[in-house]
Symmetry: C2
DNA sequence: GCGGCGATGTCAGCGGTGCTCACATCGCCG
DNA sequence: CGGCGATGTGAGCACCGCTGACATCGCCGC
């Protein structure tokens, strides 16, 4: 018994596959991973993975779920950094863009669900939107953000940060990381949007 | 001679391949197209396409170039609609988001160049940024847009419109089109950004 | 305790893919 | 008109996603 934690027949394959696939996607992009290669790395036959994932897309979905959870936890953690709404917003923006910069392929995968509800209708998008909305209302009550339709402000700031993140992620696929100076500048720009505020007349 | 415009051996294959690939990408996504399938549709052998494109990526690059040209021409056309900078900006935003909504897979492809300069460093991004910058300076001179670092305003509006476009494109992959009402609303929001204006203190 | 049964893994294989290489064919140019 | 380069062909390689029949393992009820 070389491995104490290997259960069942050969080990807990499902878990092994997901974590290996996540690393592979992160390093080489989503369409560079192959079932057969993952099976080889896990030391099982090429057909074994299909006992756990009916097809490749389902594996990628599982990877996307895990990546989304990672991102979400980073956002949550970032939101605890500041006390007022504005700095929390800024921290979330930085974290979001930073994730896109450091894990462009995973960031892609999260928003690339081909089936039904994707990126902004999926879990991450919803939670993020809720949090942003709450922050904006809080900021308005504190007088930090001008009065205006909160829905519209939320939509706009969401679009702005997502656009920044995508621009960074699309820059050089998995080459250049965002300098912390650049990140600060971008976050500043985004925050300015809220400070100035705007809305339908 | 059934075909008068077929030159050379079998016809002008290169052109045929690019247009067929463009339609295929638009309808079914980039990784749903295959060299062999395209060859079949063109009535040539599976190896023929490789006389014109050393590998699949180069074909997709050509398709992306063509799509980018399409998009660019729509943006140019949209920019002639209005007289003042603000309405021109709004028209460009609508056109940009509309293209992303109607051709999500092509919009993806344009920004997905894996090699060197991609989306925002490529031709479309540059021309768009230049045009936006010009519009903003023009708007500032006309007093329509508050004085502030034009570079920063350009970056922000670029990110905002790109973010909106991606959110729409990611919504339901190639299912739902953007209602003209929604488009108007989004453009309004983006324009508000400029009207209010903002910049580094 | 043990026998059966479901979950898990194996093997061989199907049709598809990107891509290559030796060869055939065509048009143009000297 | 003859040769040559551009273009298309056919066979084939290695890989892929995925399938079905079969083997093996652990657990659960008898």
């Amino acid at each position: 018994m070389p491995e104490p934690d290997t259960r069942y027949h050969h080990g807990n394959l499902r878990e092994t596959l997901v974590t290996a696939a996540l690393r592979a996607v992160d390093r080489e992009g989503a369409d560079a991973v192959s079932m057969r290669q993952l099976a080889r790395e896990a030391g099982v036959s090429s057909a074994a993975p299909f006992r756990h994932f009916a097809d490749k897309q389902l594996l990628l979905d599982a990877v996307a779920d895990r990546a989304a959870a990672q991102l979400q936890s980073m956002l949550d953690r970032a939101a605890t950094d500041g006390t007022d709404a504005l700095t929390q917003f800024r921290a979330m923006t930085v974290a979001y863009v930073r994730y896109a910069s450091e894990h462009p392929a995973l960031f892609d995968l999260i928003h690339a669900r081909p089936g039904a509800l994707s990126g902004f209708l999926g879990a991450v998008g919803d939670e993020r939107r809720l949090k942003l909305n709450a922050l904006i209302c809080e900021g308005q009550n504190a007088g930090l953000i001008p009065e205006a339709d909160p829905e519209l402000i939320t939509l706009t700031s969401e679009a702005l940060t997502h656009g920044l993140a995508r621009m960074v992620a699309e820059g050089h696929p998995r080459v250049r990381a965002l300098s912390s100076e650049d990140a600060r500048k971008l976050a500043l720009a985004a925050t300015q949007l809220l400070q100035r505020g705007f809305g339908l007349s």
